[in-house]
């Protein structure tokens, strides 16, 4: 078999990419993973540290909470968007698709910075709210959970909308007609027929958003406050500020395992996989 492989000229083309990924990605990640068990000595002491110190546990909790809230926010906003995309005339649909894609094409740094400008005490959001008369003094949107969520939901929205759109556009119109014909009022028809049929999209989108949000760094770092530190920031801080590779690597493993577990669970339970979307 190996002999056949060496004669198979196409197989050789795999080498550059394979080598690059193995040497510059697989090995470093493996190195990091091992380090979590071996620094300073072999054992699970790093994990113990994480699970014992409340500040670290808090960060883990924050991460899940923020990722969860982002997922819910993206779902609430994304579902009507996807629905409208499916049920609109072609021109409106193209516009909506474009609007959801734009942030997708823009670097996260740019988008997060845009929110910093908007949400600052002297920013236009506050100016607008004061101008309308809703509030008297500038509200705090930055360096707190609100700011982080506002930024992250916007960035994650495409990851929710596109799986939803993909599933919704395949729902046959005749199911909705049948439901109406059988006596279901619009709300009942939606709850009993349309929503269940759109579930695969909801699950895929939610899983995607949640997983990506878990590992997020840029947005919470710029828009969040002390109470909103997520695991990625903690990892960066431990390495850059304290050189604490032991802890950082353990945290990295936790993040990786968590991400992997969610993938596996969702895949198994709901039999839904991430679409090849890009």
């Amino acid at each position: 078999m190996f002999a056949r492989l060496t004669r198979d000229r196409y197989a050789w083309l795999l080498l550059p990419a394979g080598l690059l990924i193995l040497v510059l990605f697989a090995y470093p990640v493996f190195w990091l993973l091992v380090r979590s068990f071996s620094d300073p000595t072999w054992g699970l002491q790093n994990y113990q540290t994480v699970l014992e110190k409340t500040i670290y546990l808090k960060v883990l909790w924050n991460t899940v909470a923020i990722a969860g809230a982002t997922t819910i926010g993206a779902l609430v906003l994304g579902y009507p968007m996807a629905y409208s995309m499916v049920h609109s005339p072609p021109l409106v649909r193209k516009l909506l698709i474009f609007v959801v894609l734009i942030p997708f094409w823009t670097s996260i740094l740019v988008r997060t910075f845009a929110w910093m400008v908007l949400l600052q005490p002297k920013g236009i959001v506050n100016d607008l709210l004061i101008g309308i008369g809703l509030i008297d003094t500038p509200a705090k949107f930055m360096f707190n959970r609100t700011g982080v969520l506002i930024g992250m939901i916007q960035i994650m929205l495409p990851f929710m909308v596109f799986p939803l759109y993909s599933v919704m556009s395949r729902i046959d119109h005749s199911y909705v007609q049948a439901a109406a014909n059988l006596g279901a009022r619009p709300v009942k028809s939606f709850v009993r027929v349309y929503l269940p049929l759109s579930m695969p999209g909801v699950i895929t989108g939610s899983m995607l958003v949640f997983i990506i949000a878990l590992g997020y760094f840029i947005t919470p770092a710029l828009l969040g406050g002390r109470k909103d530190v997520m695991i990625a920031q903690l990892i960066q801080q431990q390495i850059s500020d304290f050189g604490n590779w032991a802890l950082a690597s353990a945290l990295a493993v936790i993040l990786l395992v968590g991400t992997g577990l969610i993938f596996a669970v969702v895949f198994k339970v709901f039999k839904v996989g991430p679409d090849a979307r890009l």
Binding site: A17, P103, L157
Partner: protein, 266 residues
């Protein structure tokens, strides 16, 4: 019927708000980048190109721009060559566990960037690649190979194998078949992958943050350092340029795909 109208209006309202939510922040940045005032106020008092000017004349910005460009181009080329090669290997030869190999090559997309960043940083320090342009190139290449790979694999899937068989039957040797038949057919996807890689490299922050130093750092890292203390619209100008660059590249990419009738995002 009234019930239906209510929900329709509510949905329309939410969509309208979402549209604003997605677009307004970027629009604001665009406008502020042309502000004549040295602070981030909206609406800006007047029009000026000074911040764009500053970006291209201020030495630290110019240096970072050079680094970005010096990294972006080789990364794109490397990633495209490696990714295309891998795509060909995976689709055209009978490799055992092809699915697993493809999964492995796509892994940089799936693994949270922070982990990749920390891992690469740790290892680069040991290998002396920390704070070097080749280091940045190698790291970026690894990050962008998955994009090229998936794009080209899809394109190859659409090329009818029988075309290549026909070429062979007509007397073409494998390399010729590739050059004259396969390559032209997948070229739009390859170029698309190239553009994708360029954009991603230029926009990349997290990994670059770890493996850059004050002397060798791309635009995004310098932006990051400045952003918290940002009081003038220079960053807005850079952000706008970044945005326009990505947009142009991706529109070009869409055009290239459109011309070849291949599945595309829009």
């Amino acid at each position: 019927m009234r019930q239906i109208a209510f929900w329709k209006n509510l949905r329309g309202l939410i969509c309208g708000l979402v549209v604003l939510y997605m677009v307004v922040p970027l629009a604001i940045i665009l406008v502020i980048s042309f502000s004549s005032a040295p602070f981030l106020s909206f609406p800006p008092p007047g029009f000026s190109m000074q911040w764009y000017d500053k970006f291209f004349t201020d030495p630290s910005w110019v240096r970072s721009l050079m680094v970005s460009l010096q990294v972006m181009v080789p990364t794109a080329i490397l990633a495209t060559l490696a990714g295309t090669g891998a795509a060909l290997a995976l689709t055209r030869s009978k490799l055992p566990a092809a699915g697993f190999i493809q999964g492995l090559l796509m892994a940089p997309l799936v693994v949270p960037v922070i982990i990749t960043a920390a891992a690469v940083f740790g290892v680069f320090r040991i290998w002396g690649l920390y704070g070097t342009i080749p280091g940045l190139i190698l790291a970026h290449t690894v990050l962008t190979i998955p994009y090229v790979l998936s794009t080209v694999v899809t394109a190859l899937g659409l090329v009818d194998r029988r075309l290549e068989d026909a070429a062979a039957n007509l007397g073409a040797r494998p390399l010729t078949t590739f050059r004259r038949i396969t390559l032209p057919l997948i070229l739009p996807a390859v170029l698309s992958g190239l553009l994708f890689a360029m954009v991603i490299s230029f926009d990349e922050l997290v990994v670059s943050l770890f493996i850059s130093t004050p002397t060798v750092r791309p635009v995004t890292v310098l932006m990051w350092s400045n952003i918290r203390g940002a009081t003038d619209p220079t960053i807005a100008a850079i952000a706008t340029l970044l945005f326009l660059f990505s947009l142009t590249a991706l529109l070009l990419e869409g055009l290239a795909r459109r011309r070849s009738n291949q599945p595309r995002v829009l």
